[in-house]
Structure formats: structure tokens, C-alpha cells
Chain length 535, copies 2
């Protein structure tokens, strides 16, 4: 077994800066100058978008057939070299077999020190740890869910992890902060020209939006499919005009892990209560009205919330203009029942969602560009009236954490979470404690979202409204709500009383293992190595 | 009346170069170094695509409402200045009212020396001549149909006209050869965020593909609509994330001139015969087979050809995989009859086409990027089995002209014509003479397409196959065709005999007035000033 001792050097105080969130962040991230977070909306973008190399049709087959034998051949023809950045995407979620196949093909070609730049990684990607131990992969820039996050937390990765939101990932690619040498795109359907679609085929996953930036900006693009159709593949979520090579494989993933058969509501009475509170809050704060919009994820509370909000909408006779996915059968039912004009969908969580996005023109795939990119001419996120999100911790200033647990372990990615904070009303829907560990704390372990953007915290023990949102408080007063509106401190004290005090501080070493990027590319916080038993 | 004497200086022999087509072309085009044409596929692209400025959501309204009072206010907020390049698009064809409104608003703001960069101009844009006379517009880079072409031909425009194909226009924008300061996009439907669609609304035109490059690469983008809908405008052919301002106007154009009620077949017996020859040629050359594809325009011969090819397809029991528009009811009927799986459509010519593209997912809007851009990783044009095109002249080496008449007058744009030459079988379908002027000549007035890409010339007096295409000649032999296959020289001699000799040489001055760009950005030919009666 390879040596598993920590590899990260301790922090040099000279090379850190205390940012506008009061967090100590490195000035150098994997050899690139990084800018400290300056506050919401303060950092001014400058310069030009990345311009990928100009290609010419004379370099590509006139008949449009870009197939090559396998991933190894494709990587070779892309000019794979040591130190390159290889991107993959998480639309196949924990069923993905393409990312690992690509990195293993690279290993067989004998290259070293790759940067793996996934849009997110999942437990199925745990074998990348071996590739890091072997030196094939130098480090990961991208969300690390589960075992890869733990590996990073233990200080075992050679480079710093860089966590970005979905919008931040688009921004980084578009702005040239990240140069993707080779993008490998898993495609549930594709044609020999490289047009690719996620909404059809045996491994259908819905949208391929997470791979769109890579297809546009990477030097070289490989499409990998297990469902080749004659040109043209319609719809072309990825355009073949951006694709260099097409590889046909037997299977790109395990369909049972790509999307659920059906998504499950929570049965926990506490969580159902939280979901109901959120829906009633939107009603009483006068947010539910004809033409409104909301976004909720696929977690148990979020799904239950959709059930409650539907009831309220029916009662009040209102229709949403759009709802944002992650989509599931619950949102599809809303569309079919006429409770919303459109679903604007970033990813699809169950078979009903896949069927709908593949057939109903009112169920529209979106990309991180349309929805989340902060360095665009606006994005959809700020036009959503209300969003319901989770968090691992929230503090009394409403700052929230979505990446580390209170023991300091990095176990989750950011996803679209940071980007969604710009909605008209951002609600964290949280159980007040988990495993007897309070969720409301004095100071979050890792700031992932600044408190000024978080408007409401809903727990089973009460609802705290950010005092900055006097407009929401006034609306609640007007409507004479009977919801348990309380201060966040009061809820915190009650929980601490129940569980016997605030959570223990995590035992962290002064060794950075990852950084949390804000939506504008600045560094919001640092993730520090977790001390093991011996430290 | 303003002085209407010619303004262009005579050619300085030092500043010209004889290119690979044997044509004398300028090395300086409006102050930019230009590269002479090097032959088909010889010019190697280099460098990076243009990167437009990085913007930030903090500069745009969070509620997504980008409306401003009128075009003048929008142009002012875009920072309009002397000498800027303003682009507009021709999807509203001769019904367009937006381009002129934008240029007149600029005139009211007092700016001078603008470059107008339309994707094409039409007779409705004739008043731009006054703006050129007043100094508001310096010159036009874009196709000039009708009166503007004549103005240019007479040497009256201050700058050189630059004619590009649809694909060449994308290439020039993408590669940064043209920097668009402000794009003004007429939108039959749009929302306040700037998402825009051409397939719905009272001024519906079909696809907005011609404006796509401008929306992605221009510094500033204004959407002008007469049909504002609440966010989201679905589909979003133009993405609001690329748009700076939205202007609502009473009308963007005259619907009766935007699309025809119905497109008209030719009734000329000669032209019907040509159309029939083309269809029979495709059958006898073994191009009509299951899964094949073709493109034909909306001219009388092309429409009649569709009728004949449908009969042949029915007889042979074959189905096309795709047909390419310009679409009309004739192609829509094919789709509905099951004679093709898809229409891949660049522009829509009649109401049946608009209704179909707005409702049938098998009728897919395309853009010059997908279809025609030579500086991409392939494009659709070379995957089309056969294309039927027109021309003003063709010479005995199969070089063809589509922009000038044999009197030298510049009266037509290139459109997608150059890009389509890359199809598997490129057919020019032409009457052998027009107004007693032969169409087959010794040397074309202006080379718009190199003869090596033109495979067949079909006239009512016979069909000439380019001797390079021995494969086609062999297939014809195999099928024992009864078509009148003849040499191009033989057809030429016969026509000259009928009309009394070859056409007169045009009377041209040694003063360049416009250049013809090839698909790769090099200069293929020069258009020279036409001598007037006094010269």
C-alpha cells in the first residue's frame, strides 16, 4: 500500500490574507494568484473571455465522422501530456463510468500530474484516490462528495482542492482562470459528428448543461456515448461543431444510479413540518402570487415542500410562471396540472423528469451560463422569487456552510447553492440539529454563503428572518401569520439547551487543503486539514 | 442633393496581389491587412477566437428587466461613438424596420463614420444611402442586394464593401476580424431579460440564427421587439445572458414582406425542365438513397426541384435523413409526409415554414455556426449529399459568380452559397441564358466560388459534369441515364450560337469598390467600379 501520510505543507502566514468575510485565505492557489473575497458585488470583472484556439474544417473529416477506436486513441490524438487539465461532468451522478475510464486510459498512456476538473465527483469516483497515489492525478478541482472529500480533508492530496459553484465553474472556464486542455463528455445519445443529447437513450440523464462550458472553451473535446445515432442527433445539447472526437463504448454508466426510478419524500415528522413551514412562509410573506417562481432541490424537505406549495397554489388559484429544477416527478406533475407555465431545468433527478425534458417543450434544459454565471449580463438565479436550500451549518449572522461538517470534514460540493442565494427570498430549510449536533452555531466552520444573502432559516423549532429583510417582516405582519417567527439566537439557545450545549470546535491543523471560491472567482474561505487521532 | 461623384481612389498596383484564383485583390481592406485567397483548404487558421469583455451581474438589474425607453437611449447607454461598427440582421428580409431605425437613431445622436455590418441588406434599406451621403455611415460590410449594391458599384461608398458568406460572417466575428461594437437584434418575441425567439409573434420569421454570433461576440447587444412576453421567452434562440438592453417598439417590420404567405413555384417551362433534370440527375447519379440529404433554396427552380425529387423518393421508397432549409411549405410537406426525418433550417421563407419551426421539434433551427462556419470543428454543409444552387455566371472551368451581373454591377449577396459548395454534390441549376445574355462564359466577372467545388451545371440545354467528378460520371454510366450529359464548352457554344455570340465584357474602371471574402477570411476576388456613360 502506498504511503498515506499527509502531503500538504503548513500555512505560511505571509502568503495568506484576511478577506472581507474575515477569513484567512491563501494568495496562491495551485500556482495561480488568487484574489480574496471582497464582499457581495464588490469585485469588478475585467479583461476578456477566454478565446479557444481557432480550428478549421480542413482538419476535420468532411463526412462528419469523428469516431476513433477508444478513449486511449482519442486522448492520444488530443495530444495528452503530463500536467494537463482533464474535465468530466456529473450528469450521470453516482452511475458515471466515463470519468474513471478516461483517467485510467490516461494512466495507461503513462502521463502524470493531471489536474482532474470534474463538475462534481461522487463516491463512484473513489478509485481516483489510487490514481492520485500513483501520481497520475495531481489534484482535483471540483466538488468532492464523500471519500474524495475525506482524502482531501486529511491533507493527502498534492494540490489544493478548489471548490466552485456550478456558476463559478462556468465563470472560471469562461474567464480563463481554468484552462481545460481536454474535456471528456459522457453522452446518453450522440452522432458521429459529436452532437450530443442527454434526454434520450438507455443512459438518459436529462440535461448536459454542466458540460456546455467545457465544450465551448476546452482546447479539445471528446464525446463518449453508448447510444450512437445517425447525424443529426436531435436535440443537440452539445454541438458537434465544438467536438474533436467521438468514442463509442458499451456503457457510459449504470442507469439505476444515474436517475432514480422515483424520488422519495421525507417521512420524518420534523422534516415534513419544516417543509410545511416553508410553504406557509411563502404564502404569508406574500411571495405566492400569480406569475411567481421558485426553486427547490431534490432533498426530502424540498420535495415535501413542493407538495405543500402546490396545495397553497391550488387554494389561492395561482399559477407560477416558472419553477426551476433539479426536476422530479413532483415538478413534472405541476407542469402537467397547469400550476406552472415552464420548468427551467438544470438537472433531472428521476425518470419522470427525464421523460418530460425529452418530450415537453415547456420543460426546458438550462445551463450554468443561463442560470448561474455571475460574469454574464445577468442570470436567471436573481429572477427566482424564492429558493429553498439546505446547509450543514448556519451562524447567528446567517452565514452558512454547505461543504464541511462541524468536525471540519469536507464532504459536500457547492453545486448551484451559492448561485441560488441571489434569489428574491433565500430560505434555508434545516432540522435544528442532526445526530444531536446543533445546526445553528456562533460561527460556521466554512463560510460558503455570506449571511447578507440568506433571508430566512426555517427549522422545526421556529423560523428566523434575517433582520435585513424588513420587507419580509412587514409582509408577515400584514398577513397576520401564525407561523413561529423567532430570532435566530433564540432558536439556537433552545437547541443548545436540548442537546446540552454548542457543538465542539473541530480539531483543525494550520494546513490548507482546499479553498471555497465565491461566484466571482475570489476566495471566500479556506478548508483546513482535519487533525487525526494522533495530532 | 448631395454631391454624387465617385469617391473611391484608383487602385495602387503596389497594394494588390494576384491570388491563387488568378485574381488581383487588395492587401489592405478598410485599413486592415487582408490575406489573398490561397486555394480551397490551404489557408491555415491560427490564433484564438475573439473573447468579448467579461461582464458582471452586478452591472445588470437583479430582476432581469433590461428595458430602456427607445433605441436612442439604448445606443447611448451602449456608449455609441464615431466610427463604431453596428450590426443588424436580415431575418425580417425586405420587411425589416429595425436596421434603419437603429441607424437613424444613431444619426440623431450625431455620430459619424459608422460601419454598418448587416448580415444582408435589402431594397428596404435603400435610405442608408442618405445616411452614407450625410457621413453617418462610412461604409457597409455585408451583402448588398439591389440599390445599395448599385451605389457601391458606382464607387460612391467611402470604404470598400466586404462581402462574406453566412459562414464567413460567423468566421470573421468569431476570429475577431470584425469587432462588433453594438449588435441590434430585431426579435419577433422577447422577454425583458433579452431572451429572444423568431418563431412566434406577429412578425414571426422563423430562426434568428443570423444574429447569434453577434449576440455572443459583440461588446453590447440590444434586442428590439414588438412582442414582449414575461420571462422566460421560450424558446430562447438568442440568450438574454448575452443581451444588454431591450427596446419595445410598436412594430419591427412589415409581416407581409418578412415571409411570404406561400412561396411560388416557377411556371417557366425551361425552368421546370431544369428542376426535373436536377432531380433525375440525383437519381441517376445514385445520390437518392435511404438516409440521404439535400439542400435547396427558395428560388423557383429549387422549389420545383423539391416537387420532382419527392416523386422520385416516393417511387423509390426512400426517406431522407434530413433536408436543409431555407424552408418552405414544400419541405414542411416532406416532413409531414414522412419523406425526411428532420428539417435543419437556416431561414424560413413562408408561413407554413414558420408554423412548423415554431411547433415541430423535428424542424430544427440552425445557425451559421452549426451549418457553415469554416473555422469550426467541421460544419453541416460538407455532410449534405447534394445542394442545388443558382448563379449569375459560370465559366468553362466551373468557377461561378453569384454577386455581380455580366455588366459588372454588384447586385446580390453571397448568402450561404459559398458554404454550400462543400456538399457531396454541388449543382448549379441555371437557365442557359437570361435576357439573351449567356450564363456560361469564358471567365466569370467575379469569382465567388472556385470551380473545383462545383460538380454539375444543369441547364435546359444539357447537363455538364465537372470532369474532376469521375465518380459521378461512372455512376451515371452504371445507371444508363438518358439525361443530356454534355461538356460545358458544348453547351456554351450552342447558347452563343443562339444569342449571337458571347456577352460583352463589362466596362470596369481600375477602382476597387468591394472585395469577396472566401469562407476562410482570405480575399477571393475584387469588385471593380462600373464605368458610367461618360467614362
Amino acid at each position: 500500500m502506498a504511503d498515506r501520510s499527509p502531503r500538504r505543507p503548513a500555512a505560511d502566514p505571509e502568503s495568506f490574507h484576511v478577506n472581507a468575510a474575515g477569513r484567512r485565505v491563501p494568495l496562491d492557489v495551485n500556482g495561480h494568484v488568487s484574489l480574496p473575497y471582497e464582499g457581495v458585488g464588490f469585485h469588478r470583472a475585467a479583461g476578456s473571455k477566454h478565446g479557444p484556439p481557432i480550428r478549421s474544417c480542413s482538419e476535420y473529416p468532411a463526412d462528419g465522422d469523428k469516431r476513433v477506436a477508444d478513449l486511449k486513441a482519442a486522448l492520444e490524438r488530443c495530444g495528452l501530456r503530463d500536467g494537463m487539465t482533464i474535465s468530466t461532468h456529473h450528469h450521470l451522478r453516482n452511475g458515471d463510468q466515463v470519468a474513471l475510464a478516461a483517467l485510467r486510459a490516461a494512466a495507461e498512456l503513462g502521463v502524470k500530474d493531471l489536474v482532474w476538473f470534474p463538475s462534481a465527483s461522487f463516491p463512484c469516483h473513489e478509485p481516483v484516490i489510487d490514481l492520485m497515489e500513483q501520481g497520475v492525478v495531481h489534484h482535483i478541482e471540483g466538488s468532492m462528495n464523500g471519500p474524495l472529500g475525506a482524502y482531501c480533508s486529511e491533507g493527502r492530496m498534492r494540490g489544493l482542492g478548489v471548490l466552485r459553484s456550478h456558476g463559478g465553474r462556468w465563470q472560471a472556464i469562461q474567464d480563463g482562470e481554468i484552462h481545460v486542455d481536454i474535456a471528456v463528455i459522457a453522452a446518453p445519445t450522440a452522432d458521429p459528428f459529436g452532437n450530443a443529447d442527454g434526454s434520450h437513450g438507455p443512459s438518459a440523464c436529462g440535461s448536459l448543461g454542466f458540460a456546455l462550458a467545457d465544450s465551448m472553451y476546452a482546447d479539445r473535446v471528446i464525446v463518449v456515448t453508448d447510444n450512437l445515432v445517425p447525424f443529426p442527433c436531435i436535440p443537440w445539447q452539445i454541438q458537434g461543431n465544438n467536438v474533436d472526437f467521438v468514442v463509442e463504448v458499451e456503457s457510459i454508466g449504470d442507469p439505476s444510479k444515474i436517475v432514480s426510478g422515483t424520488t422519495q419524500l421525507t417521512r420524518s415528522p420534523d422534516r415534513l413540518l419544516i417543509a410545511e413551514y416553508v410553504a406557509r412562509f411563502l404564502r404569508d410573506a406574500e411571495i405566492v402570487r400569480d406569475g411567481f417562481s421558485f426553486q427547490a432541490g431534490a432533498g426530502g424537505i424540498a420535495l415535501a415542500f413542493v407538495g405543500f406549495i402546490k396545495e397553497i397554489m391550488r387554494e389561492q388559484g395561482v399559477k407560477a410562471r416558472f419553477v426551476r429544477g433539479g426536476s422530479s416527478s413532483y415538478l413534472v406533475d405541476m407542469l402537467n396540472e397547469g400550476l406552472t407555465d415552464y420548468i427551467l431545468d438544470g438537472q433531472t433527478f428521476d425518470l419522470a423528469g427525464v421523460a418530460s425534458i425529452g418530450s415537453d417543450p415547456r420543460h426546458v434544459p438550462t445551463s450554468p451560463f443561463t442560470s448561474y454565471n455571475w460574469h454574464g449580463k445577468g442570470n436567471f438565479a436573481s429572477m427566482v422569487d424564492a429558493v429553498v436550500l439546505g446547509a450543514t451549518e448556519v451562524d447567528v449572522d446567517f452565514n452558512a456552510n454547505v461543504v464541511t461538517h462541524s468536525d471540519g470534514m469536507l464532504l459536500h460540493g457547492i453545486g448551484g447553492w451559492q448561485n441560488c442565494l441571489f434569489s428574491g427570498c433565500t430560505i434555508l430549510a434545516l432540522p435544528a440539529f442532526r445526530d444531536r449536533i446543533p445546526v445553528i452555531v456562533d460561527e460556521v466552520t466554512t463560510i460558503t454563503g455570506p449571511g447578507e444573502l440568506i433571508d430566512v432559516v426555517v427549522t422545526e423549532r421556529g423560523i428566523a428572518v434575517n433582520p435585513r429583510r424588513t420587507d419580509l417582516l412587514e409582509a408577515l405582519e400584514r398577513s397576520g401569520t401564525d407561523l413561529p417567527i423567532r430570532s435566530i439566537e433564540e432558536i439556537k439557545q433552545e437547541v443548545e439547551h436540548v442537546v446540552g450545549g454548542p457543538p465542539e470546535k473541530p480539531r483543525l491543523l494550520d494546513v490548507p487543503v482546499a479553498v471555497i471560491k465565491w461566484v466571482d472567482g475570489t476566495v471566500l474561505d479556506t478548508v483546513w486539514q482535519v487533525a487525526d487521532e494522533a495530532d
